[in-house]
């Protein structure tokens, strides 16, 4: 056997609740034992549109966090932006609806064995998995700062409860409608220069991940980012979700972000080649 997709399974889950939070929907799904295999960074692939749908591919969503004991047993939370027809369908599902999902999928954020100073950077709904991650890091004795950014306040996802595990939470919006005006990446060079960060965990739009990678380049800061590429299968069989990644010897290959990601080492992703193809193999 292999380790790929290990402990992934398909499940028909029930919607426990669906609340609007800013411009997102916070959707809680009853998934039972499945929570035991879910780690921060993993994602779920959801069938959308119902039985007669013309949509044939699953949609990927980060697992925001899981709860092992709830009134309904294990549950999983998703933060969903109503974007196109699939995510809108999901956001329209009410309590009691059933959802066909496959999880947990993909790689998880690496958890340091020592207490480190961690900076968690989230863009838009990218903050979703960071709160679960913060909890784990906090339990390991890490110092956890979280910087969240978005174009506008309605796109900042930062639940009250989530803040418990975080030492500092800063919010940046481009229109200044919440927190400070500006980009979430702007303060990072200063933090690094001041030696306040050992590891950056990031999740959000690709340009944000790319910018962070460029910022940490040359420093000792480790950068683990959760990438987001268009996925047809989510389980490694279609090769649509690839991006160029260098191995330790500098050989570049097109890695699948669904099984070799979504969490990747930011320093190995060849950001300038994303959407292009590397030089032909020798």
């Amino acid at each position: 056997m292999t380790n790929i997709n290990k402990s992934s399974e398909r499940l028909i889950a029930t919607v426990v609740s669906n609340k609007r939070v800013g411009q997102y929907h916070q959707i809680l799904l009853n998934v039972g034992q499945m929570v035991n295999g879910c780690k921060p960074g993993n994602f779920v692939a959801i069938k959308v549109g119902g039985d007669n749908a013309k949509m044939i591919l699953r949609r990927a969503f980060a697992i925001s966090r899981v709860s092992h004991s709830g009134p309904y047993g294990g549950s999983m939370e998703l933060i969903v932006a109503p974007f196109g027809q699939g995510s809108k369908w999901l956001c329209a599902q009410i309590e009691g609806a059933t959802i066909d999902l496959i999880a947990p999928l993909g790689t998880a954020f690496g958890i340091p064995t020592e207490p480190v100073r961690a900076l968690l950077v989230g863009g838009g709904y990218g903050s979703a998995p960071l709160f679960g991650l913060a909890e784990v890091l906090k339990n390991r004795g890490c110092r956890v700062d979280m910087y969240l950014g978005a174009s506008t306040g309605g796109k900042i996802y930062a639940p009250m409860e989530g803040k418990r595990s975080v030492n500092v939470l800063k919010i940046y919006t481009e229109d200044g409608s919440m927190g400070e005006r500006g980009r979430v990446t702007e303060p990072i060079p200063g933090l690094i220069a001041d030696g306040l960060v050992d590891v950056i965990y990031s999740c959000g739009p690709m340009p944000m991940l790319r910018a962070i990678s460029h910022i940490v380049a040359g420093s000792d800061v480790v950068h683990q980012c959760a990438v987001e590429e268009s996925m047809a299968c989510g389980v490694g069989i279609c090769m649509t979700c690839v991006l160029p990644v260098a191995d330790s010897e500098g050989n570049v290959s097109m890695k699948r972000s669904c099984i070799d990601g979504p969490v990747m080492d930011g320093s190995q992703v060849m950001w300038d080649l994303v959407g292009k193809i590397p030089e032909a193999h020798a």
Binding site: R10, E229, S230
Partner: protein, 314 residues
């Protein structure tokens, strides 16, 4: 009990359900969801001589009841395939059909030579829907002469040992004549259909969405085209085994292609929506066959071609 077994050339398979090339990667990824021994065979992603990065992203766009992909045959190359992927499949006791692809007629023969001595292969699928670099990038499968020459080269290299399945493109004016050509050149079976040449324009960038501009349409949208292709070719070449594919997502779809003339069914895009789809389809097919009084898959192959009885005619 339904006898599910099927044959293509001298290869025997316990089930008519196969993965589709490029839709199961090397097999490892699906093993969490299905037992690879339960299906007819794993048809591997088309492998080329050298490792390849494939096409730039985005590589896919969903369309109504379908998707368009332009993967561009990303893969590790034949040597890595033979030293890593194939032995793993063999160790799992999966039956394997290796799909090969080339940019020149010579490349196909080279690939065939390497497969000849590899153990554990049931058949070779020759994906000729590739641009022919020696002839203005014209796709082999769209050129009757080039198609024939590819198969001829592979046949000569392989000798009589491994069955050859030539995989054809539906993007041609006269599919039957291409089919006849490759059969004359030594193909034991035909795989029908590869994806349909398509394009999606991104309404934000207002340019072709895929990195490779054009791509191949697959999924339920193309099923009626696949049924037509299989029916036409089976009508013209009733004794040539057909591995049918194109939009099969349920047992009813598989049966439709079998009635049209397919001896085996490859499940491609449906596995993206559900990695265990092939097993569900297999179970549904068994049920549908038995409800109709068939005791074997073989009885249903091409059944839609039977002559009209007098009683039906009145």
């Amino acid at each position: 009990m339904i006898d599910l077994s099927t044959t293509i050339g001298n290869a025997w398979f316990p089930s008519p359900l196969f993965t589709a090339s490029g839709c199961a990667s090397s097999g490892k990824e699906l093993a969490q969801f299905i037992d690879l021994r339960e299906i007819g065979a794993v048809v591997t992603k088309s492998v080329m001589s050298k490792p390849r990065h494939g096409r730039p992203t985005p590589r896919m766009a969903e369309t109504p009841s379908g998707m368009v992909n332009s993967i561009g045959l990303q893969g590790p190359g034949i040597d890595a395939f033979l030293s890593h992927d194939l032995p793993w499949l063999v160790s799992q006791k999966a039956r394997v059909i290796v799909s090969i692809a080339g940019e020149t007629i010579e490349e196909y023969s080279t690939l065939a030579r390497k497969l000849r001595s590899a153990p554990g292969i049931s058949a070779v699928e020759v994906n000729i829907s590739c641009p022919n670099v020696e002839n203005r990038g014209l796709v082999f499968a769209c050129d009757p002469d080039a198609s024939r020459r590819v198969i001829d080269g592979v046949r000569k290299t392989l000798g009589g040992e491994l069955p050859i399945i030539a995989k054809l493109s539906p993007d041609v004016t006269d599919l039957v004549s291409i089919a006849k050509g490759v059969v004359d050149a030594g193909a034991d079976g035909l795989a029908l259909i590869n994806t349909v040449l398509s394009m999606v324009i991104n309404l934000d960038t207002m340019r072709p969405h895929l990195g490779g501009k054009t791509g191949g349409l697959s999924g339920p949208a193309i099923r009626p085209i696949a049924v037509r292709a299989i029916y036409q070719v089976h009508e013209a070449l009733p004794h040539i085994p057909i591995l049918g594919m194109g939009g099969v997502a349920s047992g009813r779809d598989a049966l439709e292609l079998i009635l049209a003339g397919a001896k085996g069914i490859s499940v491609g895009t449906a596995s993206f929506g559900d990695p265990a789809a092939i097993i569900t389809i297999q179970n549904e097919l068994i049920e549908l066959l038995s409800v109709r009084g068939f005791t074997s898959v073989a009885q249903a192959v091409g059944f839609a071609h039977r002559p009209v009885e007098e009683s039906e005619n009145s």
